[in-house]
């Protein structure tokens, strides 16, 4: 069965939530789930010490309360659905492999970092390094679908390699820096140094067109077929992407400083 976990009060120290996995939790009794040990500071806390556990009538494992000190929510998840209400800490859905995370609220740094599958949807904002790589890793996000309805901080999708990353709001500086491949769709404004060092991959703009740097060059060959395939898929996102397939598109190639073969797609 699925549970609804309500945080009684913010824990005194940051809480590592990696152990809480929807599929595993569903197989436990409420008492067993309450004994789940969560690292915090130098020690651990039993889940029941900080959460009220109640059955949930939904498919999803629900976590709610003031979640700002909770890190690694849904990290490494492979299946199931995690539904979060409130602003959460760092590394939401870190290394996600499958299943779905829905966050009604905002997240701090490293959301969706190194994810390789599954889906994350955030109704609010995320901070820096969302969908990026872990320190030392060659690739950032490498699969799945990550949709942010609010704004994103700096270094969004750094070293991203595969998958679809969508931000309906504004993004900070160095968005899609060192992009290896994949699709990044941006609905709002961009900070400086967009696509810095991008090698391949596609950045699509639903809203305001950015001022591309000097290492991006316009191309005017016909990409009608590919544009229809992509635009029709992105139209389903709504917002700035609604009606995308009916708009003409301008294409820029770059980043030429790294012999980049990526592209910026700017609908007119």
């Amino acid at each position: 069965m699925t549970y609804r976990l309500t945080l009684r009060r913010p824990p005194p120290l940051r809480l590592d939530m990696r152990a809480l996995q929807p599929a595993r939790a569903a197989a436990l009794t409420a008492a067993e789930l309450g004994r789940l040990e969560l690292p915090s500071g130098c020690g651990t806390l039993a889940l029941a010490e900080v959460f009220d556990i109640a059955p949930a009538g939904t498919e999803a494992l629900v976590v709610e309360g003031d979640l700002e000190r909770l890190d690694f929510l849904g990290a490494g998840m492979e299946e199931g659905t995690l539904e979060l209400h409130g602003t959460v800490g760092d590394a939401l859905g870190l290394g996600l492999r499958g299943g779905a995370i829905r966050l009604d609220g905002s997240a701090r740094d490293l959301a969706g970092c190194a994810m390789s599958g599954g889906a994350i949807e955030v109704s609010g904002d995320v901070r820096d390094l969302a969908a990026s790589a872990l320190p030392g890793d060659l690739d950032g996000m490498r699969g799945g679908r990550f949709v942010i309805h609010g704004d994103a901080g700096a270094r969004l999708g750094d070293r991203m390699r595969r998958g679809t990353l969508v931000v309906h709001g504004d993004v900070g500086e160095f968005a899609a820096s060192r992009l290896v491949a994949g699709t990044v769709a941006l609905g709002g404004r961009c900070g400086a140094h967009l696509g810095y060092g991008m090698r391949r991959g596609t950045i699509v703009f639903g809203g305001a067109a950015p001022e591309p740097g000097p290492t991006f060059v316009p191309l005017d060959s016909d990409i009608g077929v590919f544009w229809q395939l992509l635009a029709r898929e992105l139209e389903g996102l709504g917002g700035a992407f609604a009606g995308l397939a009916r708009r003409r598109v301008e294409r820029l190639a770059g980043d030429l400083s790294v012999r980049g073969r990526g592209e910026l797609l700017v609908p007119k």
Partner: protein
């Protein structure tokens, strides 16, 4: 059994399992999609020597294609997975990629069967400039070419199809046989999931298995040759039958082939025996070789017995 004067033999068409797939070819204008489809399905009448049996299933309106351009649905069949893969790659590479403005997509959902490479190997024509893109769970390859880029879906699904469904039209003369065959093929082309791979959908050199010459796997169907009616050891023809035409049907499923045969029989019966096609028969090998048996009388239209 006689319907509207047309005799329907108590026999069945014997068909075989084949590996098949559907691809969708689109282009800037309908004519160019058709040029590509015609070329890609050329020299694909019989697996006896062509390697594949292929044909145009139907023309697609812009709203039916993945990229919103006019298109053509093509079916391709072969006896083995390996041969089908080879034929598909060659035909798409030489006849679709080369044709101005075309793009090629899978015509069956990925869940329908094993994946067969479509753009997976053709991408290397891009010499390193090719771009891969995953959109909505499917991978596409974009290969830069002189008119822009050639977009090909990575793979198409392969299904177990049915090949060799057939209908024999026994007629008074050439005019009657051609007119009947044309009408039957027209009716059968409206059935989804099937192709009639021979020229115009019709074959005049129907074959039997084997030959007196050891090197030949198939030879003329002497039992249905008017010239041999008084000579051959066994003939299926009545006096007055001067011309026989065969329509061969390949389909993605047994039910599709049956539907096409039903449409063809109905078309001939609808025209009546006075139009010159007086008898319908079918080719089989005694029922021991092919697992699919299409009994003509079970497929005949009901209520018109006379």
């Amino acid at each position: 059994m006689r319907l509207n004067g047309v005799a329907i033999d108590e026999t069945f068409a014997e068909a075989f399992p084949m590996k098949g797939t559907r691809i969708v070819i689109t282009a800037h204008r309908p004519a160019w999609a058709m040029h590509a489809a015609v070329a890609a399905t050329g020299f694909a009448t019989s697996v006896i020597a062509c390697g594949a049996e292929a044909g145009i299933e139907r023309v697609l309106a812009p709203e039916e294609t993945p990229d919103g351009r006019p298109g053509v649905a093509v079916l391709l069949f072969s006896m083995s997975t390996k041969e089908l893969g080879k034929q598909l790659e060659r035909r798409v590479g030489q006849c679709v990629m080369t044709c101005p403005t075309t793009a090629v997509f899978a015509g069956l959902p990925a869940s329908a069967g094993e994946a067969l490479p479509l753009g997976r190997n053709l991408r290397f024509f891009g010499d390193g400039w090719q771009i891969s893109k995953v959109i909505g769970g499917a991978r596409y390859w974009r290969v830069p070419v002189m008119d822009g880029e050639f977009v090909a879906q990575e793979s198409t699904a392969m299904v177990k199809g049915v090949g060799g469904g057939n209908l024999l039209l026994l007629a008074d003369d050439t005019d009657a046989a051609l007119a009947g065959a044309e009408a039957a093929v027209e009716a059968m082309r409206r059935v989804p999931g099937v192709i009639m791979p021979f020229p115009g959908g019709v074959v005049r050199s129907g074959s039997k298995v084997g030959s007196k010459y050891a090197a030949l796997p198939a030879s003329t169907n002497d039992a249905f040759c008017p010239a041999l009616a008084p000579l051959a050891a066994k003939t299926e023809l009545d006096a007055g039958t001067r011309c026989v035409m065969e329509i061969v049907i390949d389909g993605l499923a047994e039910a599709d082939v049956a539907a096409a045969m039903r449409a063809g029989i109905a078309a001939i019966v609808g025209r009546g025996a006075d139009a010159g096609v007086r008898r319908l028969s079918a080719g089989n090998y005694g029922g021991k070789l092919g697992p699919f048996h299409f009994h003509l009388r079970k497929l005949a239209p009901e209520g018109s017995e006379a």
